[in-house]
Assembly symmetry: C2
Homo-oligomer: 593 residues x 2
Amino acid sequence: MNSPVEKLALVRSALHQKSIDICIIPSSDPHLGEYIPEHWQIIRWLTGFTGSAATVVITNSFAGLWTDSRYFLQAEKQLSGSGFEFVKPGAFHRNDYMDFICENSGPGNKIGIDGRIFSIAQLRKLEKRLENKEVSIDTGCDIIDTLWTDSPELPFSRAFDHPVEFSGKARSVKISEVRKQMVSENADFHLLTSVDDIMWLLNIRGSDLKYSPLILSYALIGKEQILLFIDEAKIPLKLASEFDTLGITLLPYEEINEVIPAVTEGSSVLINPATTSVSLYNSISSKSKIIEMISIPTRLKAIKNKTEIENICNVMIKDGVALTKFFCWFDFNSGKLPMTEKSLSEKVLEFRSQQKDFLGPSFATIAAFNENSALPHYTTETGTGAEIGERGLLLVDSGGQYMGGTTDITRAIPVGIPSVQHKKDFTLVLKGHINLAMAKFPNGTRGYQLDFVARRAMWGSGINYAHGTGHGVGYCLNVHEGPQSISPADNKTVIEAGMLTSNEPAIYRDGEYGIRIENLILCYEDEETEFGQFLKFDTVSLCYIEKSLIDKSLLDQKETDWLNSYHSDVFDKLSPYLTLEEKNWLREKTDPL
Amino acid sequence: MNSPVEKLALVRSALHQKSIDICIIPSSDPHLGEYIPEHWQIIRWLTGFTGSAATVVITNSFAGLWTDSRYFLQAEKQLSGSGFEFVKPGAFHRNDYMDFICENSGPGNKIGIDGRIFSIAQLRKLEKRLENKEVSIDTGCDIIDTLWTDSPELPFSRAFDHPVEFSGKARSVKISEVRKQMVSENADFHLLTSVDDIMWLLNIRGSDLKYSPLILSYALIGKEQILLFIDEAKIPLKLASEFDTLGITLLPYEEINEVIPAVTEGSSVLINPATTSVSLYNSISSKSKIIEMISIPTRLKAIKNKTEIENICNVMIKDGVALTKFFCWFDFNSGKLPMTEKSLSEKVLEFRSQQKDFLGPSFATIAAFNENSALPHYTTETGTGAEIGERGLLLVDSGGQYMGGTTDITRAIPVGIPSVQHKKDFTLVLKGHINLAMAKFPNGTRGYQLDFVARRAMWGSGINYAHGTGHGVGYCLNVHEGPQSISPADNKTVIEAGMLTSNEPAIYRDGEYGIRIENLILCYEDEETEFGQFLKFDTVSLCYIEKSLIDKSLLDQKETDWLNSYHSDVFDKLSPYLTLEEKNWLREKTDPL
C-alpha cells in the first residue's frame, strides 16, 4: 500500500474534486464510542498513528493531527515523515483542532466531514465555533471509502448469554426499568447507539472487538417492542427465541438508517447526541420529536448492583492472584531470563488466562521500561517492545475481562536499585492515590471536586500529570465507561454509591520514566449526619504496592496506616491461592511499612 | 400598605386578567447584577423576605419562594404567615423553581415574566426546560408596576473620578484595551449592562447603591465612540468634558432601549446574555448580529494590575487596623458595657470610618451571636439585633469600600469559655481555610478544582457547608464579582495570577452557632517547572485568628506553621498603627501557637 505521504496526496485530490477546503477526520465509527473495529480505523490507515483517539485536519497546504496528552510522545514519533504534523495543544480544556479551523477558515470555505462517524453534538460544537465565519459544512464527505479499498471487513463473533448469576438482573427486569424511565422522560422510543448499553440491557456479550466483549449492534426500544439491529448469524438460536418472547425483533445491522426514521415517525425519540451520528440524527429529526440526554442504560449500568459488586470482589481476587504470580515470577527471574516489554505483556496474559471465567485482556497491556513508561499509553503493540535493562523502572498497566467484571490496574516496580528521584516521585504519586482512596464526601459531589486530592502532594512539588485521575469502569464491558469521571474536566455527573472508578495519579518524566499507581475504587454509603449522607470509596483492586520505591519520610501517619491496612487485606485475600513460595514472597511485600 | 397576603390576592387578580397561569418574579433589576436599588426590590415589597437573592412563583393555588442556602433559615422565619411558602431545595446543583414549573405546567398554560428584569440566558434556560410542555411564555408580565404604586425613586448620586493613582490605568488605556479585544471578537459594538464594568472602564465611582460605589448606567462601546446612558446630572462638569475628549457621549438612562437598536442596526454587537434583559436583547437581535460572551471588562478587571495590588495591600492594613481596634475594644468592654449585634455593627463601622479613603461598608455587616450566626447571611438590618449573651460565639463578617480596594473579612470569637465542640468545629474550618491558603496549583486550574481542599477536613468528620468557598472581589467595586469562584459549581473560569478571591469555609449548626473564617487571597505566579507554571495564593487580609478556639491537636505542623507565620505578618503590619494598649493585646493574640 501507499505511504502516508502518497495517501495524503490522494485525499487532497479527492477533496479538490468535491471543492472541500478543510476536511476533518475523527477517530470514530458510527457508534461513536471509544473502541472501534479496524474497518473504521481511518486515521491509522492514513497517517500511521496508532493511538486510539485523534482528529486529523487536511487542507490544501496543511495536514495535522491532534490527540490527547496520553499520546503526545507517540504521535511525535509515529508522524515523523508522514506528511502529517503533530499539533501539540496546550494543557487541559484548551486549544483543539477547532481553534485551528477557526483561525484558518474564511467566508465561502467549505468544510467536509463524514456524517456517519461525526456525532451531532460534535457537529453543533463545530457550527457554534464557526458561527460568524460564513463557511459551509458538507456532512457527506466520505472520500475515504473510495480510497481505502482494502479496508478490513466488519468483525464477526457469536453472542453468548451473560446469565443472572453474573448480571444480577434479568434482561426483562432491565427492559422494564428502562421503559419506566422513558415514561418519565416522555419518550415513545429510546435509540441506543452505544454497543455496551445494548449488551448490558440484553445480558449478552460477544467478541467483535479486541478488548471489549461486544457485538456491533443498535437498538430501538419502543413501548412494547425492541428492534435489535445486528447480524442475525451472531445470535444463537436459544438466545433468539428468548429474545422473541421478550418482543425483541432482529433486523439487519445495516438497515438502521432506513428503519428507524420510518418506525419513529411522529413520535418522540430519546437519543444521546454524543453517540448519535449526524446522518442518523438528521434522518430521525425530520420525522420525529427528539429528546436529548445521556442514555438511560448508561446511567443505570454505572451503578453496580449487589450481585455485580459481589462478583467484582471475587474477580479482583483472581486478577490480584494473576498479577501477584506475575510480579513474583518477574522478581525470581529478572536478570536471569531475557525479558522484553513484549514478553512481559504475554506473561501477564498467561497468568490471567489461568483464572476461571477470564475472557481476555480489557485493553492492550502496557509493559513499559524507563523512557517508554513516560508515554502514558505506550503499548508493546505500538511501541518498540524494548528489552528490560539492568536498572530503572518497569510500569505494568493491564486488565482483564471476566464474566464477573472488568479490571484495570497499574503498578510500577524497580529494576535494580531505585534512585532518590524515583522514590520521591513514586511517593508523591502514592500520596495522591491514598488520599483519593481515603476521601469522604457528601452526596452530590462531582468527580471534578475530588480530582485535586490526588494531585495535591505533587502540585506542591511543581509536578502534574496531563490526564484525568479516574474513569468509570464497565462490568464485563468497556474498561472506560461513563458517565462519571474524576478529572479536572467539567463532568457534572455526581459520584454515587455503586459506581466503580479508577484511581490512577501519575508522574511522567519525558525520556526518563513514568510512574502510575492504579486501583479501582467502589463508592459506598458511609455515615449520615445532620449535614447529609456521606460517601466513601472501597479500594477493590488487590495487588501489593512496591515498598522499596517509597520514601517513608514523605508519608504521614494516616497514609502509612492506609497502606499497611491495604497490604494486610491484599495478603489475606490473595495468599490462599498462591504457592508457598509465592506466599512467602508476598508476605514480605506486604509487611507493614 | 397591605400585607403580603393581600398583595398576593392583588397579584393573582392581575394575573387572572392577563390569563397568566404561572408568574415568575426574580430578585433582579434591568442590570441583572447582584445589587439592586430599592426601586426594583419587588420580592421584598411583595413577600417581606429581605434576602438579596430569591425567585417567587405564583399560580392560582400556590405561591412560593426559592432562595439559596445562605437564606434558608431567614426565609423560613420571614415568610411565615405571608401566604408565600418557602421551598427548600436539595443540596448543590439541584431542585430549583424551574423543577416546580416543569412539574406544574401543562399544554396551553401561559407563563408570565417581566422581560425587563429577566436575562435572555435565564429565559433560554426556562424555554429549554419547558421544551416539550406546549406552554407559552409571555415576557411582558409587568403587573407589579400597577400594584406597587409607591415604589421608591431610582437613586441619585454624583459621580467622582477614580484617579490613576488608584485605578492604575487611565480610562483611555482601558478603552483601547477593550476595543482591541472587540476587534479579535469581530464586534463592532460592545454593550455593557453591568454597572461595575462601566465604572471600571471609565474610572468613575458614585453612591447610587448602598454598598457598591456605583452609578446606574449602561454603555455602548463603538469603534470610535462610547454612548453612556446615565442621568446627566450625576456627571460633574469636569468629568463630562474629559469624557467628551474621549468620544464619550452622555444620553438619558431611560433611552437605552430605543437608542441601541437604532445605532447598532446591521452591525455586530457583543453582549453578555447573563446580564442582558430579554426586552433589550429582543430589541437588538432583530436588527443586529449578536455575539455572546462574558463582557470584556469583566474579564479584564478580574486581573488586578500592579497599582491596584499595591493599593489593596495598603487598604488591607487600614482594614486590619480598624478590625483589630474593634476586637480589642470588644475584649476590653465585653461583659461591662451592654452590647447588641446592632451596636457592634455600628462599632465596626465607626472604626473603619476612621481610616483614610474609606467610602462605606461593602455589604451589610453581619454581627451575629450564637444561633443567629448559624444563618450565613444574617444581618442586623434584617435580624433581631440580639443582645450579646454571656457565653457563646460571636461572628463578625464585614467589609469596606476604600478608594484603593474592597475588603471582606470574617472572624468568629468566643464570648466566655468556648466548648469542646466550638473548638473542634473552629479548627476544622481553620484547617480548610489554611489548606486553601497554602494551595499550589498549575496554570489552567479552575476554581472548582480547589474547593475540595477547604472542605476536606470537615468532610472527614461528616460536616459540610452549603455555599461556595470563595467569590471574586472587586476593586472599589462590588464585593462579589465574577468571573472566577472557588465552589462546587461548574464555573469554567481559570484562576489566574492577579485575581482576588475570598477564602471562607464555614460550619453552621442550626439553632446553635456558625463559624466562618474569611480572608481575601490574591493569586500570584510561583515557580515554573518542566510541568509548567505553578500558582499560589497570598493571603492579603490582616486580622488575628482567635487561638483560644483552636484545638491544637487537630492541626498538623504545616498548618501550625502557616498560622504562626500569618500572625507574625499581622502583628508586623498592623502594630505601627495601634495604641500601646492595643499593640500589647495584639501581641498576645498573635503569639506563636
